[in-house]
Symmetry: C2
């Protein structure tokens, strides 16, 4: 049987692990002087942290049909053609996204990721190559700037009806550093962001609309024209959703520059800024003009999805203000601090005007609630 055609169930655990280690072992060897025992070597992995460093830990699960759909992984060409078969790249993208969202949480503390542990559950019918490609995707996420020291320290393989992956990311924060904290934004601070806003949400809308229950509807001549004019933008938005590349250097850079409040935007700017405001006991005033300007760039996506101009503006603003899984980094910086490269000002932190910390904005956007249950 062609190796590529055997399933994980046919191959068995040992063969799958061999396949995985062919990718993981050389990857770890290239960067892992701090990894004394890696995956499969013993009961647990053994790492040597930098002397005096603090330990940063986060975990996140991504499940098929809850957090992603295989049919999302199609290029803009397929979008234009109305064709949405999961392509060869899909498992690699799942690996990249699962790793990236955890790496982003480490960066958002101002820390550097040092290790990932990966538990992968998948149907026995998945091809052996799926697992290898998934791990290639994890490796790709770790090759982003800011994750140079991150190794794959351990993992687990199991069987389930759908693909589900849980990644735990481990990071280091220098001794004595408070990190970038939700509770550390102070009145007078500048609110700044590194990374785009709204693109992942716009990309999700494109992917979901085009891969609906009918399996991809044909597109109109108007859509074809918008697509031709904005092909790059559409691709960028879809990739923001399917293959996020969080700015992993931004957290440590913000901390080094004197930033103090901070978090990544995983549930949308409005919700996450509200968390920052609550934890710090402050009001956060958003710069409505700047955000409106950022939204403008996304209007062609809303138009492609059939929204008339006024609605398109509103839709684009909702993506910018409420879009989740964005992995942009929100930071607050004391007045006078020069923002590090990549950050732009989107508001400011003030004393809370009454008893309740708030996010203050003149923009009215649609309900952007989200619950994982």
């Amino acid at each position: 049987m062609d190796h590529r055609e055997s399933t994980v169930g046919q191959a068995g655990e040992d063969a799958v692990l061999t396949e995985v280690m062919e990718i993981v072992a050389p990857f770890n060897a290239r960067r892992g002087a701090h990894l004394l025992l890696g995956p499969g070597a013993d009961d647990a992995a053994l790492l040597v942290p930098r002397p005096g460093s603090q330990l940063v830990l986060t975990t996140d699960t991504m499940s098929q049909d809850q957090d992603f759909r295989p049919c999302w992984w199609s290029g803009p060409e397929q979008l234009a053609a109305g064709a949405f078969e999961p392509p060869d790249e899909y498992p690699m993208e799942v690996g990249t996204k699962a790793a990236a969202q955890n790496l982003s949480d480490i960066s958002a503390m101002g820390a550097q990721p040092t290790a990932l542990l990966i538990s992968l559950t998948l149907p026995r019918t998945m091809p052996l190559t799926w697992v290898a490609d998934f791990y290639r995707g994890v490796v790709r996420a770790c090759e982003q700037p800011g994750a140079q020291r991150c190794v794959i320290a351990g993992g687990d393989l199991g069987r389930g009806d759908v693909v589900s992956v849980t990644i735990t990311a481990v990071g280091e924060l220098a001794a004595g550093s408070a990190g970038l904290r939700r509770d550390a934004a102070a009145p007078g601070d500048t609110l700044a962001v590194c990374g785009p806003l709204g693109r992942a949400a716009a990309g999700l809308a494109l992917l979901e609309e085009s891969s609906g229950p009918e399996g991809g509807t044909a597109i109109s001549p108007q859509q074809q024209e918008l697509f031709t004019h904005h092909e790059e933008l559409f691709g960028v938005c879809m990739r923001a959703q399917t293959r996020p590349a969080p700015p992993l250097e931004a957290g440590p850079a913000a901390l080094a520059a004197g930033g103090r409040g901070g978090m990544d935007i995983s549930d949308g700017l409005l919700r996450d800024a509200a968390r920052l405001a609550r934890a710090s006991g402050v009001d956060i005033h958003l710069d409505d003009d700047v955000l409106a300007e950022e939204a403008r760039t996304l209007e062609p996506v809303a138009a492609y999805l059939g929204r008339p101009p006024e609605q398109a503006r509103h839709q684009a603003l909702t993506w910018v203000m409420g879009g989740g899984e964005e992995y942009a980094l929100l930071g607050t910086f004391p007045a006078g601090v020069v923002l590090p490269e990549g950050f732009r000002r989107i508001g400011e932190v003030r004393e809370k005007a009454d008893g309740v910390p708030r996010v203050v904005t003149g923009h009215v956007v649609s309900n952007v609630g989200w619950s994982s249950l």
Copy 2:
């Protein structure tokens, strides 16, 4: 609506998290001086390790119908009555087992667990109380001797068709210590074990036989008599499967006593001893008399399951030699070392007799292979 009756889907993520934190926050507060930021406080948890310590990491997923069945969680009374409804205790036991198997891997390195990260996926129809009870079970596992410093550092909640839990355990090993290693067994070492052998496998056989597709078959008068005589043993075996309590102090104790080779028995003595032999490049000679003696205590379980005497002996020996999920700790100690409390000698390590490292035993047991895929 009665709080106990609402489901996690009805309650929503925030209410479930509140429920979880009512258990986790006071637990962490009692022991977590090293936990600067715990679950939900920020993008990631922040811990201060002991100065100079090495970091030990492991992860493991446990899924319903793959790794456990709800109907297992019944007491011996229900076994006797042939009734197998999952009782109230079931979610707590799932939490204990999921945590214990990860804590065991940390101990098996000779390390002390310091933190768990818990990702829980469950159907929206599960009662809110299920989640709270699950966390109570995790707390119970951490209250075992040897896990005194372990906190719950973070977690994730998600939706899925069946219950699935991934736990990552973090531990500390003193600076400069090699830990208990698979590759460190040396000729002349005594092979010793801490914790029972075969009980979890015997318990699994009881649970599976009694909770078969028919949902619990009525038991015969002979079975009733065996049950009455051996009720305590049967209960101990079933609990070894449903609520394992690995000897978490054994790993650090082995290391302190001068032990060097070691691992926990998660896939059965024969398979795991073979891994130890291979990694260390040695032969491992098992003490067949000692193991036969240990097996004898489990014969009543085999008899209960309808095996005639000769088969019962063979079955019990297969449990002792091949039973997985045992979480006993295997260690090797240089000659002359006094075994720490709780360890007993079950064999010895020798130079390998020919090119291939082997486990040497006169016992012939049934096929004990296992693949997680």
